[in-house]
Structures are given as C-alpha cells and as structure tokens.
C-alpha cells in the first residue's frame, strides 16, 4: 500500500492532523477518517453536488479533490452549519418549505445555498436557479427548494435588520 503523508488542516474550526494516502479523496477523508458523514457522495464525478463542502469559504466538490489538496486550508461541512438549538436560516427554511424528502442531496445544497446567500442577499429566481443547477435532487422536483431559498433570503435579511442598530432619528 502506498506511502502515507502528513496532512494538517482546519475542519469546522478545529485543527486536524492525519496521515493519509496520496490518492485518498477529500470526501473519503472527511467521511471515513474524521467520521463526518453528513457530507454524502452521490456520483464520484462532480456532477450531483451532494459532496459539496466549503474550502476556504468557497464551495467545492469534495469527491474531486484529494485530501492532501486541502493541506493548510479550512474546510466547513454541514455539521458546522447550524445546531439542534439554532438551525442555520437555510436549514430552517428547508424544514419549513418541505425542501427535502430522502435528505441525501440536502447537505451539499445547504452548503452551496448558505454560501450563495452571503454574497446574494436579495437573489432573483434566475440567480437561485443558476446556483441550484449545480445540484441534483431526485425527490423534490426542486420547486420547494426554490421556495426554501427565497424564504431563507428573506429571513436572513430580517435577522440582519433586527441586529443592526436603528438609524438615528
């Protein structure tokens, strides 16, 4: 078996250290070595988007990267998106709008959408469709996912307005 290499990276805010084979895929490293099984693998070729994670804040397909390519970088997975007590607004919206059925594609979509809404606080339907086009879902027919993204955008804007100090006067 092949030589293992040292890997240091940050995953969900924690520094992690591991010895990995050069051919180990990032998705397998997260799922098998770190036991972060919320990231799912649906196609192995970057087509379905289920394995999407954030790498230094940008969505990537973890099935298309070797674990060693994440050396010195920061990964965020669905496990760090929200908590039982405080769901991320995107998670909240998916629950409210029935935006998932079997749930297998959901973690990747949540990661992409949460990232997208940070840079697109008031998205148009066309923009949402364009970003969802990178993900496959076989259960929902997407319409409720679209509704969930819209609802999440509205909620995030509302939360921001509530958090920001009132303008004087």
């Amino acid at each position: 078996m092949s030589q293992r290499h040292s890997l240091i990276l940050e995953v969900n805010g924690q520094m992690r250290n591991a010895l990995v084979a050069p051919r180990l895929l990032l998705c397998d490293f997260l799922r098998e070595d770190l036991e972060l099984t919320g990231t799912h693998v649906g196609c192995q070729v970057g087509a379905c988007g289920a394995c999407t994670v954030l790498l230094d804040g940008k969505p990537v397909r973890s099935c298309l990267l070797f674990a060693l390519q994440a050396e010195g970088r920061a990964i965020r997975t669905v496990e760090a998106l929200g908590t039982e007590q405080a769901l991320h607004p995107v998670q909240e919206a998916f629950e409210e709008q029935h935006g998932l059925q079997c749930g297998f594609c959901t973690p990747g979509i949540l990661i992409t959408v949460a990232h997208f809404l940070e840079s697109h606080p008031e998205p148009t339907d066309e923009e949402i469709m364009a970003v969802l086009a990178g993900h496959l879902c076989r259960c929902t027919g997407y319409r409720n996912i679209l509704a969930a993204v819209r609802a999440a955008a509205t909620q995030i804007a509302r939360d921001k307005a509530a958090a920001s100090p009132r303008p004087p006067g």
């Binding site: 039982e84 027919g141 319409r143």
Partner: protein, 795 residues
C-alpha cells in the same frame, strides 16, 4: 371505535389529519446526522468490490484469482464457481407457473448475459485496495452475439439467451373481457397503432449499499441495506443462503431514495452476510455510480401494439393490446409487474367494454428490469392517451371532449373491469370511487385550455411553437396483502409506533404519527416511529406501490384504536365503571360525569404491571398490534395537463406550465402529498425529455454516470399547479388512497401530447415516449422545416 375519516379522536381539539405539519424526519437530515448505510462503521470492517462483466454476452472460459488473492490487504476473493453449489438463484416474486426459469445468480456461472453482471467479489481492508485487487482478477471470455432490442429478441431465427428454453419469451400472461372480435367486426373504424417505451430508471441519489456483521456467539447476522422492504430481503436472502429466516436481521436505515430500484433483491445482499460470516468481520459494499447504471435494475422498456374499435363519435368499443417488456438478461424481483399493470390498467378511466390483452416478458442482453415509480402504469397511460389523441385528431374532436365521451361517470362506480392484476390473488380490478369527468374538467380549467388555444395561434404566427397535452390515469394503489403495526405506551407515557412501512423519503414517520396522535388525542411530537428493522418490527411488507400512507397509516391508527380499547377495559375495572360512563379527553380516560376521576395512558400502563389484569399483555406497558388486511386495491386518479414550447432552432423542449388535478382520497398531510406529486412529475419530465439508458450495438452501456445520463435540474421543472379532490376509498376506514407514484404516471402522456401538438404544423406524429432531446426534436422536425437564416453579410 372512533373511525370517522379524519375526525379528531374523542375530545382532541384539532385533528392532525389533513394538516401539512412539519416532518419529524427533517431535523437530523438537515444537521448532517442522517444515517445511511455508507455512514455506518464497525470495528474491523472490510470493504467489498465486485468484478463485473464488460461483455453483454460471453462464455466464461476461466477465472484466475491467484494474484488478486495475494494482493496485500485482501481478505478473500470468491467466484461463481465457489458458491454455485450452495446458493440458490435470486427469487422472482411475480411469476406465472408456466414461466421459464430465467433466474439471476448471485455471481455468474459459465455465461454472462449483460454488462455489469457480477462475476467475482473481492473483500479487502478498504475499498481502494478491494478495487485494486478486483482489477487483478483475470477472466477469459469468449464473446457471444448480443441481443438488445425486443425486435431482435423476437425475430424469427434469433439466438436464444437460454438455449434450453427454445425462445426468448420467458413469460406470457393473457386475459380478456367481453367480445373483442365481435366489436372489431362491427366497428365504424378500426385504429392500429404501435408504441414504444424507452429504457430509463429511478436513479436515487443514494446508490445501493450493504453492510453485514456476524455475531460470533449466535451466528446471527445483521444486514444493513438500502432497501424499500427489509422483511422481504430477510426472507429472500435467507432462502438463497439456505439459512433459517431467524438467523438474519435486516435493517433499512435512512434510505436515500428508492423509486422501485430498491424494491428488488440483489446479489450483494447475499454476498455480504455470507462473507462476513466466513471472515468473521463486518463486510461493507457501497455501490459506486458507474456500477449503479449497470448493476441496479432498469425500468420501463416496452413495445406495444394496440387495435381499437371506434364509433364515428369517438367512443372506443373495444381494445386489443399486446405488450412486450424487455426484462433484460434475467428476472429481477418484479420484472413481470410492469406487464401485469399494463394488462390490468391500460383502459384507464375509459369504459371500453370489450378488451383483450397479452403481455410478454422477453429476455435480452441488458441489465434486468424491475419496477420504476408507477411500474407499468406510465407506459399504459402513455399508449392509451396517445391513441385517444390520434382518434381525436382524426375525427376532428377536441382532445378533452373525446376523453369525456369515453370516461366512466361517478354513477358507474364501483366499476368491475373484469380483469385481474397479474398473478396476485384476489386481484380483480374494481374501480372503487371517484369523479373522473370532474377531475378532467378541473385540470382543463387549471391551465385555461380555451385561452391557451388563442395564445398558441398568436405564438405560431410569431414563429414560436407551443403545445398542450392532456393525460388521465387511474392507478392501482394501496396494495396489500397487509401492513403491520405495533403500538406501545409505557408507564412514563412514552408512545412508540413500530411499523412495517419502510420509507425512503416519504415522511412516513410524520404521517403515521399524525394518525396515531389523532386517535390517542396526544401531541404528534409525543410519538416515536420505528421502522425498517426486522429485529424490532415483527412483520412488514414495506414501502412500494403507493401503499404506506394508506395501508401502513391505517394499520398505525387501528393499533391506536385497539390500544385504547385495552386501556378502556383496564380503566373500567380500576374505577370501576361501566363502559358507557367513560370518555376520552386528550389522551386521558375518565368518567363522563366527573372528569377528575380517571387515568392517563401512562397511569394505565403503570397499573397494568400490578393491579391490572393477570393476562395484561406486558407488565408496565400497554401494547396493541394490528395486521391491517387490505380488502381491495384503492384506485387513485388524476388528470395532467402540460404546456410546452419547442424551440425549432435548437430542438429544445421547455415545459412552460404544468397542472395536476388529482384524487388520492383523504389526504393526511397535503405538504407531503404535494411533494410526492411534484417530485413525480419532475421524474416524468426527466424521463420524457432527458433520460435514456443507452447501449451501443455490442451491448455496452453508454450512460454510466450522471455526466452522460441527464437528470432534470432545477431549471427544467416549471411551477406545478395542483388541485386536490378528495373521494374516500371504502377500502380503509380513513378513506386514504395512495399518492406516491401518480406524479410520474401521468407525465409522459401529457408531455408527449404537448410536444406533438406544438409540432403539428410540421405534420409530426409521435408514437414513442422519447426522450425528446434536441437532436431527436431536430430529427423530427427535419432540416427543411428549420427557419431560414438571414444570409450573412459577406466577409
């Protein structure tokens, strides 16, 4: 018994029945805490890889496994020869007695009959190593000619996949109602059409996967598998292995979609328990997507011929239908089912009193075919609706009008169709309830059909091609034979429902909890639903055939009814009181005259431990179990209406609007039902416009990944407008019919009708269900029909 459909249990304020409440399932799935097979890891776990045939048809001369076995990290390698003596073939569960024994083997014997057929299995320390070693397995093949199409397999002089059979037809089923010959002889007009249905399939986002773990103490094995029916898997896998049924516990954990692909027994479900036992360590196999395209069942592919006797007014008096299904290389678990559904249901909502049907199952060198959402209904509906469009156009009748003229009215229901659903016992088809014409009118109104015709004309004048299509289906749902449920209330008031339903995205825990909560008069969150585990759910039929809400849900609520009877019995003795002096309020039974005097369910559970009856079912636990036997199949129905635009320049088909008026009886949770319909329509759009499992001339699969096999993405699915009609079925006390498959069932007929309508100016007639990819559409329209480009300015 309180069994008023959808009504609150005695005293409960608001029933959950009919409310689109949030799902119990979602929280853990959203947090990344789902637990699919691939997420489970046991100490010492090994991984399996499968060596598969690269040939569609070949004789295996020799297999050499020495170098694979010697590869570092490999635990074992086995081939078909190693197990041929000990393992039975995989079962097919819907055979006629006269069927030929074209059974699948766990690993191939001397002949492989499709690309992807399993030849050997390698177990190693991890998947990477197992795949390395799988490549070291050397197989000597002698390629044989491959048969791929139905036409080729049925041609005179065709080679036979199983030479002993002397034919490629491995099963025939026929039935007849009325006098077809007489009707044809006296018909005003006779129409003959051929239709073909292409091969496509469910493609759940989670591929298949198994994990088996043997207990060295008892020899029992736990098998986690991504399946729709764990109890069936237990029974079949132990049968193949020759094990006692009690030796295997099967668990379906979170399952990432099924759609019929996971309603089959597969060889890997046998190999993993066998090898885990032999090796004394857990064995896992997770299918990769390229494998999935060849090793998991396909769906749909059929050729149809219909002959119809028609009156001048468009009324069809007789129909003769012959349908051949390309079942691939061997029987899958339900390869014959699509043919049975065609045979039983092709007449849909239309009277057609004289009817004759023959369905053939034909073997070819393709992956075995199983049911896919709707089984044979979508194919049958496609043929019937195309035939109606053809007759309507020929007679100059409106497409909605010809349907109304043929349609059964509410006064004609229940309607005995004088046919049966294949091999199932007691399966005579009797449409139970509904108002088909009203449903059709509602769909037509939904997309404002008359207005559309004006819009279409205006668009055509502007060089845009819009079309409208209609389809109507009646669908057999809520199959039996039964579903099982068991309900516990313990002394702390905890309520647990164990159900034989085994969901994969349907929100079954939520809908079943809604039903139980209503009956017990408690909050829905108070109920824990356990499913998918033969170790704790005693019996189960599983989730397929649009059955779990209706049959599993009814069983769940009836268990609550039964549990309340036991509780009432106990309360009567403890108080003491006569039955008529008692009433229920919010999970508590008390004296009608004095609500302070009474007991909660928890108190009664506690009481059953001591002062209760000596024959109390369990100390400190109120328990009830129900096996709800289905008295008859419930027939759901819907009208689908689609508006498409065909871009003549590019060949693209865009679905502009889509409407569904449907009736699945009483709706437990409209949000969940809506999700099922929209998701089904999306799969119908995919199958009609994008998806096809394509083979080359030698039988090698060309679509082996999600880059080649195009599934719909968000932009392909338009808003889908829904109207719910609710006609209860008499076959369960709550009036629920099935809703899981209908979205898919109606779609191909409506979409192809719309595409043909859009292309009417080109004289296009369409007798197949696609897929209508740009190249296909351009071929249909033909070069000459393309708009002339303005001449370019010379450079």
């Amino acid at each position: 018994m309180n069994t008023t459909p959808g009504a609150p249990a005695d005293g409960a304020k608001t029933p959950y029945f009919g409310r689109g409440i949030r799902r119990q399932e979602d929280r853990r799935l959203l947090l990344g805490r789902g637990r699919y097979v691939a997420d489970i890891k046991l100490p010492g776990q090994a991984e399996m890889a499968v060596v598969r045939s690269p040939f569609a048809h070949a004789r295996i001369r020799a297999i050499r496994v020495r170098s694979a076995r010697a590869h570092p990290g490999v635990y074992c390698v086995i081939t078909g020869r190693d197990i041929a003596e000990t393992l039975k073939p995989l079962p097919a569960l819907d055979l006629q007695p006269s069927a030929k024994p074209a059974f699948s083997r766990v690993l191939a014997g001397d002949v492989v009959r499709y690309v992807g057929e399993a030849i050997a299995a390698v177990v190693a320390v991890d998947r990477y190593t197992a795949e390395d070693a799988a490549e070291l397995v050397e197989v000597d093949y002698e390629p044989l000619p491959a048969l791929l199409s139905l036409e080729a397999a049925l041609a005179p002089g065709a080679i036979h996949l199983y030479p002993d059979f002397g034919t490629n037809v491995v099963q025939t089923f026929a039935q007849e109602a009325g006098d077809v010959d007489q009707a044809l002889a006296t018909a005003d007009r006779v129409y003959r059409e051929k239709f073909s249905i292409h091969r496509y399939t469910g493609i759940p986002m989670e591929t298949r996967g198994v994990l088996a773990d043997a207990d060295p103490n008892t020899g029992t094995v736990t098998l986690w598998t991504s399946t729709q029916f764990p109890h069936r898997v237990r029974d079949c896998v132990t049968e193949v292995l020759g094990w006692p049924a009690g030796r295997l516990r099967v668990i379906a954990p979170d399952v990432g979609g099924g759609f019929g692909v996971k309603e089959a027994i597969y060889g890997e479900e046998v190999l993993a328990p066998l090898l885990a036992t032999r090796l004394g360590r857990p064995v896992r196999w997770i299918e990769d997507r390229a494998e999935h395209f060849v090793a998991s069942c396909h769906g749909r592919e059929q050729d149809h011929e219909v002959v119809a006797a028609v009156r001048h007014d468009g009324v069809i008096t007789a129909l003769e239908s012959v349908c051949a299904t390309n079942i691939g290389a061997a029987f899958a678990t339900f390869s014959n089912a699509p043919g049975y559904y065609v045979s039983a249901m092709i007449r849909g909502p239309y009277r057609i009193p004289h009817y004759r049907s023959k369905v053939l199952s034909v073997v070819t060198n393709k992956t075995p075919l199983n049911v896919y959402r709707g089984a044979g209904h979508p194919q049958a509906v496609f043929c019937m609706e195309r035939l109606l469009d053809r007759i309507a156009d020929d007679l100059g009748l409106d497409r909605a009008e010809i349907r109304l003229r043929n349609m059964l009215t509410p006064a004609e229901l229940p309607a005995d169709r004088a046919v049966t659903l294949g091999a199932r016992p007691n399966s005579r088809v009797i449409y139970d309830s509904g108002d088909y014409p009203r449903c059709l009118r509602q769909a037509v109104a939904l997309l404002d059909y008359p207005h559309f015709r004006r819009e279409q004309l205006a668009a055509r004048n502007a060089g845009r091609y819009l079309g409208i299509g209609l389809s109507f289906y009646v669908e057999a749902t809520a199959f039996g034979p039964y579903e099982f449920s068991e309900l516990w209330v313990d002394a702390r008031g905890a309520i647990t429902l164990f159900t034989g339903s085994s969901p994969h995205g349907q929100g079954t825990a939520t809908t079943h909890a809604q039903l139980v909560a209503d009956e017990l008069g408690v909050k829905v969150d108070a109920i824990t639903v356990v499913h998918g585990d033969t170790g704790v759910v005693k019996e189960g039929i599983g989730t397929w055939g649009s059955r779990s809400g209706a049959v599993g849900g009814t069983a769940a609520r009836l268990a609550a009814v039964k549990l309340k009877e036991a509780a009432r019995d106990l309360a009567r003795r403890l108080l003491p009181a006569r039955d008529e002096e008692l009433e229920w309020t919010e999970g508590r039974i008390h004296l009608r005259s004095d609500s302070q005097r009474g007991y909660s369910l928890a108190e009664l559970a506690a009481a059953s431990a001591g002062g209760g009856r000596a024959d109390a079912p369990s100390p400190g636990l109120l328990k009830a179990e129900v096996r709800f036997q289905v008295p008859g199949v419930a027939y759901a129905y819907a009208a689908h209406i689609a508006i498409v635009e065909v871009e003549i320049a590019t060949g693209r088909v865009l679905v502009r609007r889509y409407g569904v008026a449907h009736d699945c009886g009483r709706v437990i949770n409209p949000r969940i039902v809506g999700g099922q319909i929209v998701g089904g329509v999306a799969q119908g759009i995919g199958g009609t416009i994008l998806e096809e499992l394509r083979y080359d001339a030698d039988g090698r699969m060309l679509t082996r990944g999600l880059m080649d096999y195009l599934m719909p993405s968000a932009a392909d699915i338009p808003p889908i407008e829904l109207v719910h009609l609710e006609t209860p079925t008499p076959h369960n006390p709550y009036g629920i019919k099935g809703a899981g498959e209908g979205g898919m069932t109606g779609a191909p007929g409506a979409l192809v009708g719309a595409i043909e309508d859009a292309l009417k100016p080109f004289g296009v007639r369409i007798n197949d269900d696609g897929p209508f990819t740009p190249s296909r559409v351009l071929a249909l329209v033909g070069k000459a029909a393309r708009p002339q480009r303005a001449p370019k300015a010379s450079a």
